[in-house]
Amino acid sequence: MKTSQTLQEKYAPLSEPMFYILLMLEEQDDHGYSISQKVKELTGNQVTLPPGTMYGALSKMETDHLIRQIRIDNKRKIYTLEPIGKEILQQEKERIERLYRNCKGEKLS
């Protein structure tokens, strides 16, 4: 298992699909298709996570223990967020926050 330091480097910055998947899993355990529907709604149809992208992102993050499969519900794999995934998501949120504030012309102290 990789140390959290190298994993954070590997995943920074997070790709948009991975960011949204982690963001949704932070709210509640869920399966791929449902995540894609929620993201679509949340972003006003601007971010779509089609199955190839979804499957690739989920299996990659599962391999690196950012997320974990907790059960299978009617062929649907339900995932939960792992501590390292949470850490990586938090780091990404802070990065986006910084970008956002700088975009607005704000200087950070």
Partner: protein, 179 residues
């Protein structure tokens, strides 16, 4: 109906297009026996979208198919780690016609093919080409082994016919994806 056609391992986009064209003519893909045979069922012409994904692991293939089906894709019999899906064009909105939404995940599919197929085949081919050189030298020296030489040249031609378009198509796709 059976049609013969050959697509090398990285020409999946060409193959998708061909299957779509066949469906437009009323030939619906049923199954294939690699590397040449495609079986079709005659029907009325339809607009179908075909997409390939590639996963080496059998267990992954099954669970990927389950996920694709939730998105309304029909999983079709495919071979050699390639997963094939279809969906009527009429059911697709503009953004669910593709199975990848970013360059990164599309590139990762290509990398999976490279890692588990293209590179191993290329390494094997080095041995085959080396053998061809060896057999040629033997022939020039006047040793009587024409059979070996002919087999070596045949293997080399087959491999070159697979590898050259495979690398060409992989490189083109990578360029397009900005890698």
């Amino acid at each position: 109906m059976i049609r013969m056609r050959f697509f090398t391992i990285t020409e999946f986009e060409k193959e998708e297009k061909w299957l779509e064209d066949m469906a437009k003519k009323g030939y619906i893909y049923k199954k294939s026996i690699p590397p040449f045979f495609y079986f079709f069922k005659k029907s009325k012409p339809v607009d179908l979208v075909y997409r390939f994904d590639y996963l080496e692991n059998k267990a992954d293939q099954k669970s990927a198919e389950d996920l694709y089906e939730e998105y309304g894709w029909k999983a079709l019999p495919s071979m050699n780690g390639f997963l094939l899906f279809s969906k009527p064009k009429a059911e697709c909105t503009e953004d669910d016609m593709e199975i990848f939404s970013d360059r990164e995940s599309q590139l990762e599919m290509l990398q999976r093919i490279e890692k588990s197929r293209l590179i191993p085949i290329t390494i094997c081919s080095v041995i085959v080409f080396a053998n061809l050189i060896y057999q040629t030298v033997q022939l020039i020296r006047g040793h009587d082994n024409l059979d070996n030489f002919l087999i070596a040249i045949l293997c080399s031609i087959v491999l070159a016919a697979v590898l050259k378009p495979a690398w060409k198509s992989a490189i083109e796709l990578k360029k397009r994806l900005g890698a």
